[in-house]
Amino acid sequence: MTTGISMEARVSQSSRIAARVVDGKAVVVIIDTQALHTLNEVGTFVWELLEESSRSVSELVDSVEASFEVERTRAQADLLSFLGQMSELGALEVEEAA
């Protein structure tokens, strides 16, 4: 999947969401669409990283690679797909570097 998101882009949580972690999984409500999504283990890991502050895509790939037994190319592809989906849903904001 091509998302058009670069490794230098900065990712942050949208201000129009509410989320809580239930049984180790993030439950995310997107306020403007009233949609509710449950993230898997890796998605929850990324979500919690973004709770602290915005991160670049490459920082997120580093963290996922370091915390899960996954090759970097696979981590990068899965992460870009996840970020693209969450951005499209309105849960994340992605800002490309100037």
Binding site: S15, A18, D23, V27, T38
Partner: protein
């Protein structure tokens, strides 16, 4: 919540003292504001003393003719410390929290026919919300002294499944206030929705037995849901008028707390199937 914070036992049929939506109202209305509950509000109110299973609010209400021409159905509530400001069509109210489950309010109402009922609905919802409860879009039956709620989106079959509970009593048609008390979670019917084709329960506050998401299926079943699924089910049916991220987060917290105390499951029903025995078995299986 102490008994001392409750309303004194009300004289029967005193029009200004009643319980509606889990809240015991004691209303002092000025002479320019004839107080009358209409329609479902009158039906789902009781003059019985339900003791500490309801919140208590004393309302001093005054007429405000200038509010008579307002439009819209939105309800806005903002709390700062122990004081809340409520605004909806034909109603302005300031509410102070005196203690756990005990409130006092001053209200301006339009003297139009819906002014009093708008106050009851909006104030009950705001107070239920304030103490960690939630108003659910649900039908409900009275079953063995408790309330069993059916939830789901429009068309899921909430009213249909209630109609197939021959032997039970209809408790709520469309909206239910669910709230915590020191003796557990309770449920109270609120106004609105299609009539349930069962004899009516005379109870207006009952212990909450559980919440079941209705799904039409080819094979009937009833099962408890996981905590995550429970939050999904409750959020899908919870009423929230404030669309801010803070309000949504607080609602998630309340639903998490509720799902840790109240059983939430899914009932798969077959059209035309009588489900009461299976519902009773699920309720009794604790």
């Amino acid at each position: 919540m102490t008994s001392g914070s409750r309303l004194e036992s009300a004289p029967s049929a005193h029009p200004n003292r009643f319980v509606f939506g889990g809240v015991a109202f004691d209303v002092s209305a000025g002479p320019a504001l004839p107080w009358e509950l209409l329609g479902d509000h009158a039906r789902f109110a009781t003059h019985d003393d339900v003791g500490p299973t309801a919140l208590a609010v004393h309302v001093a209400a005054s007429s405000a003719p200038e509010l008579a021409h307002e439009q819209g159905r939105e309800i806005h509530v903002a709390w700062k410390g122990g004081t809340g400001h409520l605004r909806t069509r034909g109603v302005r109210a300031e509410v102070r929290e005196l203690g756990p489950g005990n409130f006092v309010a001053s209200a301006l109402l339009s003297a139009a026919d819906s002014g009093c009922t708008n106050l009851c609905t909006s104030l009950a919802g705001a107070l239920i919300d304030r103490i960690g409860g939630v108003v659910l879009h649900a039908s409900a039956i009275e079953l063995d002294g408790g309330a069993l709620l059916f939830v789901g989106p429009s068309g899921a079959g909430k009213t249909t499944i209630a109609n197939h509970c021959a032997g039970a009593r209809g408790f709520a048609k469309d909206r239910v206030a669910a709230y915590p008390t020191p003796s557990g979670w309770y449920a109270a019917p609120m106004a609105g929705g299609d009539e349930v084709d069962l004899p009516h329960s005379s109870e207006r506050v009952l212990p909450l037995l559980g919440v079941l998401r209705v799904v039409q299926a080819e094979r009937p079943s009833i099962a408890d849901d996981s905590p995550i699924r429970a939050v999904h089910i409750l959020r899908e049916s919870a009423q929230l008028t404030d669309r801010s991220a803070d309000a949504e987060g607080l609602l998630l917290d309340r639903l998490l707390e509720m799902s840790s105390k109240v059983r939430v499951g899914t009932v798969r029903s077959v059209l035309g199937d009588t489900v009461l025995d299976r519902l009773r078995t699920w309720v009794e299986k604790r």
